[in-house]
Amino acid sequence: MQKSRNRGLIILLAAALPTLILIIWSVVSALRLVPEYLIPAPWTLAQAMFVLIFGGNTGNYQRLYSGTFHLHALATLGRVGTGFALAVLIGIPAGVASGRNNLVATAIDPLVQAFRAVPGIAWLPLAMLWFGVGNQLAIFLIGLAAFFPVYLNTLHGMRAVPEHWLEAARMLGASRWQVATRVLLPAAMPAIETGVRMALGVSCAYVVLGESNGVTYGLGALIMDSRNLGGATLMLVGMLCMALFGCALDWCLMRLLRFVPGHRPATRQPSAVNGARA
């Protein structure tokens, strides 16, 4: 009883600030204190969002976008998924090798650090020269930018594994391979998970850059194109879609990570331990 009341309070507290902003925004719009073309009303936004997702013919520029949400989202999902997967598939092995082998670290770490010093956005012109516009460009930019958090966190995770865990494992009879797969990797998993999660966020950011030119479908393209077409309403709708898209992907990733060996269950609150176990 006590607990459910606390929960209600927490939800109330968390919802207070967004609700306040929404109220102020509605008042500003209703009183026309700011022109619609700079800040559209919440209800205009909601209506445009509805049309984008579910279709419906409204006569203006929205006809172009009516019911196309799934096309944009799928295109973006494909690019983010591919670029992110590449970053993870290259970043984790490279980070593991660098973290556990000083020779590998000496060989590749300075190069990685040098590349990391170049902001991902600075790659755009060269990448366009190499790949033109389209999927390859977006995937390259995402893969490049998302590689670093995966690599660096994996590396630090591997280096931070306490030596006595490895000694304990060998003492218990684990082979070298078993020490690596059953102790090193699970022990470094919280750090790797952090890197992978950060990489997903970076991927969602860089997909907007990758889709900024010359693609028809994509949430990034939707935002960029609305500069010419729909004005602030479509821009904000695109941003909202991007936010929902990012949150949904992160949620899926968190669910997926639960099945990874070495994933730690969230540390329970002391009271929860007693309540659940006693």
Binding site: H164, E167, R170, M171, G173, R182, A187
Partner: protein
């Protein structure tokens, strides 16, 4: 009685020298010879930093002898293995595994997938806590789990490196008594490192006092309670043993200041 029992640990003229930064040689163990009969509970005490842990690490296979012979059950030591179970001072349970899965880590690595941990969990007094994670356990319970994790491998010897050093006084006494009960059932050979005189007097059949670094055996004391289920802390003989150990330690410790 101990004279006719075959020794399970044989150490002959063991020397260990570490090479520090800049190639400086640091002798840690100097000419230690030692035999431990099967089933004995041997405590090794010595001033801190004297090389007690190094001696244990040589037996465990984490450190190699610079010279000398070390055999456990007649076998030369080539590296760590499940025949020599180590309980460390630090908490070395794997935090991503439950108590049950931590205990079965060794058997599963060696392909024994179906082994049952129920008995060993009962033996260390952790029944009901199988599915707890290490962070949900007290310090004493963690060390019980660490003990169970090596016992399930049926080791030839148990090597314990100040395993209760980080516990509070009450948990320490509880777990010491639990350890003796367990020894009365299983009769393992134990090499137990400690800097706690009281602990050594309570647990040991035999106590070795090491000198300061480089460590060699300065005194060997037999417990009047050797072979008995447990020492009586109130007995006069217990006090005498404690005094003897302390007295042997003191000259070594005094020189350090």
């Amino acid at each position: 009685m101990t004279a006719i029992v075959e020794p399970i640990i044989e150490i002959e003229h063991l020397n260990v020298t570490f090479t520090g930064a800049g190639g400086v040689a640091l002798p840690v163990i100097r000419d230690i010879s030692l035999r431990v009969p099967r089933g004995e509970f041997l405590c090794i005490v010595g001033p801190s930093g004297c090389g007690k842990s190094t001696l244990l690490n040589v037996l465990a296979g984490f450190n190699s002898p610079t010279s000398g012979q070390v055999r456990v059950a007649g076998q030369k030591i080539v590296g760590p293995g499940p025949d020599r179970g180590v309980v460390f001072q630090q908490d070395t349970l794997f935090p991503w595994l439950t108590v049950h899965d931590n205990i079965l880590f060794g058997p599963r690595c060696r392909g024994q997938q179906t082994l049952d941990a129920t008995d060993v969990i009962f033996l260390v007094g952790l029944s009901g806590f199988e599915h707890f994670y290490p962070h949900e356990l007290s310090g004493g319970m963690k060390q019980r789990a660490a003990l169970a994790r090596v016992l399930i491998n049926a080791p030839e010897v148990l090597l314990m490196d100040e395993p209760f050093g980080a516990l509070d006084a009450q948990s320490r006494e509880e777990i010491q008594e639990a350890l003796l009960e367990l020894c009365a059932k299983l009769h393992p050979t134990v090499v137990f490192i400690t800097h706690d005189v009281e602990e050594a007097a309570f647990l040991a059949d035999r106590v070795l006092v090491l000198s300061e670094r480089p460590a060699h055996i300065s005194v060997e004391l037999s417990s009047p309670f050797a072979g008995m289920a447990r020492a009586d802390r109130e007995d006069a003989a217990f006090g005498t043993l404690r005094q003897q150990i302390r007295a042997c330690l003191r000259p070594a410790a005094g020189k350090r200041i």
